[in-house]
């Protein structure tokens, strides 16, 4: 029996949300530790007022975000609103998202503690198999954990089981300056030649960069935030576009003297 289908006229309102709003492109942490929304479209950004001050680290997938203050880990939703929080060790943190963009992993480099944060409370994962300095992490399919580490100058890609057992260890390159997972499968690597993306199937592409990157963090859906040396404004890398465009993220007028 053929199902009956009728698409009704468009409704411009969904619940209490307005039908038209400024587009939230991502969330970034500025040099003073303020977490700010970035509104815009490729090539046109407006950095908004601080959502959170005193952040030591922050990352945003477009679906959810994680913010680390001196004493707390905060999970935020797609609009940057606080969802939940837990006490956390002092110091910066690295964040990993799953393939839906949900907050999944937090790594504290100081005490070398790895948390899974999908449930009601953080679950500590054994890190004895993680040999090297952790640069980035993500939660892949089948509950696997992918971790990029620098060891003896080379960038290694580790794959761990949900409990932390080592499954594989693969050398990616020898001259990585920084690395960050663009999504659960694609690893972005900053080299002296530029920005390299490496997909799960091993395919690679390189985007030239004027100045070497100092860090790579997720800032929004399809977007990575690339840190720049000497206090220069960071680069927004639209890695999901075919052109892999690079744009300068403007300073917030509030951060200027």
């Amino acid at each position: 029996m053929k199902s009956f289908l009728l698409i009704l006229v468009c409704a411009m309102e969904v619940w209490a949300q307005p039908g038209i709003a400024r587009p939230l492109l991502g969330i970034v942490r500025d040099s003073r530790g303020a977490v700010r929304p970035v509104y815009g479209v490729p090539g046109n950004f407006v950095v908004g007022a601080s959502l959170w001050d005193g952040a030591q680290s922050a990352a945003f997938s477009g679906y959810s975000g994680m913010i680390k203050s001196a004493s707390e880990l905060v999970i935020v939703d797609r609009r940057g609103q606080k969802v939940r929080s837990w006490p956390a060790p002092d110091g910066p943190a690295l964040f990993g998202f799953d393939n839906t963009g949900a907050a999944a992993l937090v790594y504290f480099p100081g005490p070398r503690i790895l948390w899974r944060v999908g449930g009601d409370s953080p679950e500590t994962i054994d890190t004895t198999r993680v040999d090297g300095d952790v640069l980035s992490l993500s939660a892949g399919g089948h509950h696997h954990i992918r971790i990029a580490v620098r060891r003896d100058g080379a960038l290694h890609l580790l794959r761990l089981s949900a409990s932390g057992d080592g499954l594989s260890d693969e050398v990616v390159c020898d001259d990585a300056l920084a690395a960050g997972f663009a999504d659960s499968e694609v690893l972005a690597v900053a080299t002296r030649d530029g920005l390299l993306t490496r997909a799960a199937d091993g395919s690679e592409s390189l985007v030239p960069l004027e100045q070497p990157a100092t860090s790579i963090d997720r800032m929004g859906e399809g977007w990575l935030l690339v840190g720049q040396p000497d206090g220069a404004q960071p680069i927004a890398w639209h890695y999901a576009s075919q052109q892999q465009d690079l744009f300068r993220v403007p300073a917030s007028a509030e951060t200027q003297e």
């Binding site: 289908l5 479209v41 300073a251």
Partner: protein, 453 residues
């Protein structure tokens, strides 16, 4: 000159007394002191000591209660600290020190038992300062001002000073200036032999423009210094915009070159103005310089520069925003004001992303993009099934003109938008596989490629 003369009218009597005689003693030779004793001319703050001897020239013992001086600048050292009985023929020695603290004439009453005399002396600065004016010495008075004249920005002028020690003591004179525009060439201390002289050079090198002043301190002499910095005329700035395609949602670079190499230091300002086509009521907060997050920035130039510097950078990134209009880039440097314009033409709606979500009520389509003409009037949606066939009722046209007009009226974010459209579905919504979107403004209709749910 400051005079400090003690009241001595009552002391007109001679210092020779019936039973005692006061002598000054130098190299073991006694010289009777009659009425007064000149302790000479000394440099301020330097000390001169004279030895005196009080002898009992009578036949009976004399009681000496104390030896004192009564005026400023004089003091008795190693005198008797208690009552002394001076037997016939006996004597006591003591020293009087003259150490004035300022320029002037000084006197005091010296009392040694029954003997009373006036001691006096004078104090000079000890230093005479001359300006070497092309080989000619010109003594500088206490109120003298040495003018270094006018120098160009980055340039300098020097003056030579000669310092003469007029005292009979060796001096070690500290030399300093209290202004960053002046500096002393040479050691911070000038050694001067008695009656000797030395020289030093002061260089005027202004760090900023205009009239500059300072003080040269030589020991206790303070000499006013004056100079002027004539700013070199700043070269004409030339604005260079690197924006391959003048359009909305672009980032470009602006560099400010100089018509000639800078001869001096200067600072200037660059402004990014915006004049929207659609009227002055629309602002676009994205039209900014990336480095400042605002529409202005300051820059500096140094001698030899051919391009201005924004901090350490030689160019600024800027955004064109998402509103049709004209960018006005204005540079002010010295007496020059240069401006260039970039026209951002109105364009069809730019759709940067279409996202689809299945929701409980049906389907949701989110369209992100910008309309730099701010005249979007219609959105069209066409849904397709898995076989790629259009689904009834066919192309759904939505009049969005009023909704966008309301949004743009209150938004200062230019023409960018995030449109969220929901479509209630009656029946099996899973049949819907994809959607195509068109949006129309006064320029044209834009089409977004098919996106799957």
């Amino acid at each position: 000159m400051i005079a400090r003369l003690a009241s001595v009218a009552a002391l007109a009597a001679a210092s020779l007394f019936a039973d005692v005689t006061l002598f000054s003693v130098a190299a073991g030779i006694e010289t009777p002191v009659v009425n007064q004793f000149n302790m000479g001319r000394v440099a301020v703050s330097t000390a001169v000591d004279f030895q005196f001897r009080l002898r009992n020239t009578g036949s009976e013992s004399v009681l000496v209660q104390s030896v004192t001086t009564s005026g400023a600048g004089f003091s008795v050292i190693n005198g008797p600290s208690s009552l002394v009985t001076l037997k016939a023929g006996a004597s006591i020695d003591f020293t009087v020190r003259f150490q004035p603290t300022e320029v002037g004439s000084f006197s005091a009453v010296l009392t040694a038992g029954p003997a009373t005399v006036i001691v006096f002396g004078s104090a000079i600065s000890g230093l005479a300062v001359y300006l070497d004016d092309n080989g000619t010495r010109r003594e500088l008075s206490a109120t003298a001002v040495v003018n270094f004249g006018s120098v160009s920005a980055g340039g300098s002028a020097a003056r030579r000073f000669i310092v003469e020690n007029q005292s009979t003591q060796s001096l070690s004179v500290a030399v300093s200036v209290d202004s960053a525009d002046f500096r002393v060439n040479g050691p911070a201390t000038l050694p001067l032999a008695p009656q000797g002289s030395g020289s030093l050079e002061v260089v005027f090198q202004p760090v900023t423009g205009g009239t500059r002043s300072g003080n040269l301190q030589i020991g206790q002499r303070r000499i006013s210094l004056l100079g002027a910095s004539a700013q070199a005329a700043a070269p004409r700035p030339q604005i260079e915009v690197n924006l391959p395609s003048p359009a909305s949602a672009k980032q470009g670079k602006v560099t400010v070159r100089l018509a000639t190499a800078a001869a001096g230091t200067a600072s200037g300002r660059i402004e990014l103005g915006f004049r929207p086509d659609s009227g002055s009521m629309f602002n676009d907060a994205a039209v900014i310089f990336a480095q400042t997050g605002s529409r202005s920035a300051s820059f500096t130039i140094q001698p030899g520069d051919t391009v201005v510097k924004f901090g350490s950078q030689t160019s600024l990134d800027f955004q064109t925003g998402t509103t049709a209009g004209t960018l006005l880039i204005t540079v002010q440097l010295g007496s020059f004001t240069e401006q260039t314009t970039v026209t951002i033409p109105a364009s069809p709606v730019s759709i940067s992303a279409v996202r689809t979500v299945r929701i409980a009520a049906g389907l949701e389509v989110r369209i992100t993009g910008f309309d730099n003409a701010r005249t979007v009037s219609q959105a069209a949606f066409q849904f397709f099934d898995r076989s790629g066939q259009a689904i009834a009722p066919g192309r759904i046209l939505v009049d969005v003109a009023e909704a966008f007009r309301s949004y743009f009226t209150v938004s200062d974010q230019g023409g960018m938008f995030d449109l969220r459209a929901t479509f209630p579905v009656t029946g099996d919504a899973s049949v819907v596989d994809s959607v195509e979107v068109d949006m129309t403004n006064t320029v044209a209709t834009s089409h977004a490629d098919r996106v799957r749910f």
